[in-house]
């Protein structure tokens, strides 16, 4: 089996969102100075999902694919240290400012070029924009089924079995491979690379493909080819009022809270 895991590098998601600024005129997010880029949280869980499948079927090949500047090698290397076999960096100035459709186009074209890919794994969403469209977009363009937001993943005789996280529970869905799966945090903590695995990273190959390697050019990747227009980027103003419940005992405070919620027709 050949699995491709799509990984993305994002500004450190541990720092508070309020430290980011918005340049409304340029429609751009301005991260605070000195912020470092790290692997997107769910993508590392996606790598973990691939490694769990590889634990079951050791002859599985796992390719780690990332689109971005040279610096995303950090995330590729981390994923290789977790047990990925090969890296694929999609790097081109044409890839710098894409909308979600163009992103899916680049990634799906690369998957086609890789040939004989059975399964594509993505994180449920990237933790910078939280859009959650890459997995479905890739599946759409490849014409493959997309099984999203998985908390467990299995492959039985060419059938992908994914337990999905719903608002009110779980459901198990199946699809024939080739398919795309997106993975949620409920799968569990990603493994950490051990020193011996880190030592092996140097020996693993990272291939770099440009837009030309994928047969793509400005006509597909330029501003005119975007399908999404960003109308306005701004921080919504949300007024938060905080009220402490009065009461002499915890019971009385709870009763007051219940009354208040009932008055507001919330319960």
């Amino acid at each position: 089996m050949h699995i491709v895991v799509c990984v993305k590098q994002v500004p450190d998601w541990d720092i508070p969102p309020s430290s980011f600024k918005i340049d409304e005129s340029l429609k751009q997010v301005v991260p605070p100075p000195g912020v470092v880029d790290v692997p997107s949280q769910f993508d590392m869980i996606g790598v973990e999902a691939a490694m769990l499948l590889k634990d079951e079927a050791p002859d599985t090949k796992v390719t780690i694919m990332s689109m971005g500047p040279e610096a995303v090698q950090d995330t590729i290397k981390k994923s290789l240290a977790m047990g990925g076999d090969e890296g694929l960096l999609l790097n081109d100035t044409l890839f710098e400012d894409l909308d979600w459709y163009q992103l899916a186009l680049v990634l799906s074209t690369a998957i086609k070029k890789l040939e004989s890919v059975d399964l594509v794994i993505c994180g449920r969403q990237a933790v910078d924009w939280d859009m959650g469209v890459a997995g479905s977009g890739i599946a759409e363009l490849l014409g493959w089924p997309a099984l999203t937001i998985g908390k467990s993943i299995k492959v039985n005789d060419g059938t992908l079995v994914l337990e999905r996280v719903l608002m009110d529970g779980f459901e198990t869905v199946e699809a024939q491979l080739p398919a795309v799966a997106t993975i949620s945090n409920e799968l569990g903590e990603p493994r950490y690379p051990k020193l011996q695995q880190i030592m092996q990273v140097k020996k693993k190959q990272v291939t770099v493909w440009s837009a030309a390697d994928l047969g793509l050019d400005d006509s597909q990747l330029g501003a005119d080819a975007r399908k999404m227009t960003l109308e306005r980027l701004y921080v919504p103003v949300t007024a938060v009022e905080c009220e402490f419940m009065e009461g002499d005992t915890p019971e009385e405070k709870a009763q007051n809270l219940a009354k208040k919620l009932a008055e507001a027709k919330l319960i």
């Binding site: 290397k77 240290a81 950490y192 051990k194 011996q196 880190i198």
Partner: protein, 398 residues
């Protein structure tokens, strides 16, 4: 063009991976500390995780089950463990013992011990100090006498960390006594020998010494009364153990320095976080007062310096720079880092006011841990002696 202050991607990965490894134990630090206090020894679960991560195998060649990533990688791992407020436990002595076995052991010994050290199934402590021989290690009196296929060992050791949890100990003894040396006109460094000793050997008695430190290791006084050790456990050549041992002291100093920079970072982070939040007068956080801020800024400057010195020493060791130069780098790094750790914890306590003394803040017990490193494994005075003599060419006074 070759001076480059950035860590390699692999070395950065060691930092993040060790941090990730510790995440799952974050909520259990107090429990681990209590275990040590209750005499239950170092938490085995945490030790196994250190081994799984590859920390015990970082200085062991791949053919013996290690990953051989080197001292710089290991040093960064140590620093991360201490930055996160965990104890490296026996890692310090085990890494030093490992170097000694890798450099001086025969094939049979390497095959017997190294793979098990790497996979975490055995632990080692190190025993050299005696009541009359600490700084002056050549003065040890514990003696081993050959008797057929065994050596018979008599004497005592003191301050031996982790003798309760270790399966084996690297024991430094004399096979030629001081008196014999004098009679034969041999140099003082001659006549020392190294043995790998099973800590459950008959004839060894362990008495705990009460030292209230936070490193989750207990110290012991050991008495050897006709303890038999198989001759095959002699490490290196009989009587030539001094050189073998001194060669392993550089890694120990470098790792001790890394423990100190980690402790300093941990204390500094606590202090800065608290100084941003705590308000004593009006609405001003105490971090706005220069009497609180400036000492912390100084700690940050010293921390960067100590870290660079420590990395330089580890890099020099890994790249095969001559031991004399590595020795200078290692000693200087250890000196700076140990002084820094004390200063960092002290300022963190001061920043916390009365809370600095509360056990839950974790600073007051860290203080004794930091303070230890001024004195051991090599004292501040002996480092200054070393630098005076070897780096400045001043006459030796002792």
């Amino acid at each position: 063009m070759s001076l480059d202050f950035t860590l390699s991607d692999e070395h950065k990965l060691v930092q993040t991976s060790v941090g990730q490894m510790l995440d799952k134990f974050e909520s259990r630090k107090a429990e681990f500390r209590q275990m040590a206090k209750d005499g239950k020894g170092f938490p085995e679960e945490l030790w196994q995780e250190y081994a799984q991560a590859g920390l015990t195998g970082a200085l062991i060649p791949e053919e013996y089950g290690g990953n051989n990533m080197g001292l710089l990688a290991l040093m960064l791992g140590f620093e991360t463990v201490c930055t996160r407020g965990f104890s490296p436990g026996l890692l310090l002595t085990i890494c030093m013992d490992t170097c000694c076995i890798v450099k001086n052991g025969n094939d049979e010994q390497k095959e017997r011990f190294l793979p098990k050290i790497a996979d975490g199934s055995i632990k080692f402590c190190f025993a050299i100090t005696e009541p009359n021989a600490g700084t002056n290690a050549l003065q040890i009196e514990t003696h081993a006498r050959r008797d057929g296929d065994n050596y018979i060992i008599n004497g005592q050791k003191t301050f031996i960390s982790g003798a309760d949890v270790a399966d084996y100990m690297l024991l430094v003894v004399r096979t030629t006594t001081a008196k014999e040396l004098k009679e034969r006109g041999q140099p003082k460094a001659y006549g020392m020998s190294l043995f790998i000793v099973d800590t459950k050997s008959k004839g060894m008695e362990k008495t705990p010494i009460s030292i209230p430190l936070s490193d989750e290791l207990n110290q012991f006084q050991l008495f050897f009364d006709d303890m038999e050790v198989p001759a095959e456990n002699l490490l290196g050549t009989e009587n030539e153990g001094a050189v073998a041992m001194f060669n392993s002291l550089n890694p120990e100093r470098i790792l001790a320095a890394a423990i100190c920079t980690g402790m300093a970072q941990s204390a500094l982070t606590k202090a800065v976080d608290y100084a941003k939040e705590r308000k004593v007068f009006k609405d001003t956080p105490i971090g706005a007062y220069q009497s609180i801020a400036h000492p912390l800024a100084e700690v940050k400057i010293d921390l960067d310096a100590a870290r660079l010195m420590t990395q330089r020493a580890a890099w020099a060791y890994d790249t095969g720079v001559d031991p004399q130069t590595v020795g200078s780098y290692a000693n200087m790094a250890k000196f700076l880092a140990a002084e820094l750790a004390i200063k960092a914890v002290d300022h963190a306590i001061e920043t916390h006011g009365g809370l600095g003394f509360a056990e839950e803040t974790g600073l007051i017990n860290q203080w004794s841990g930091a303070r230890l490193f001024r004195t051991a494994p090599v004292s501040r005075e002996m480092i200054l002696n070393y630098v005076s003599e070897w780096n400045l060419g001043l006459p030796k006074s002792y």
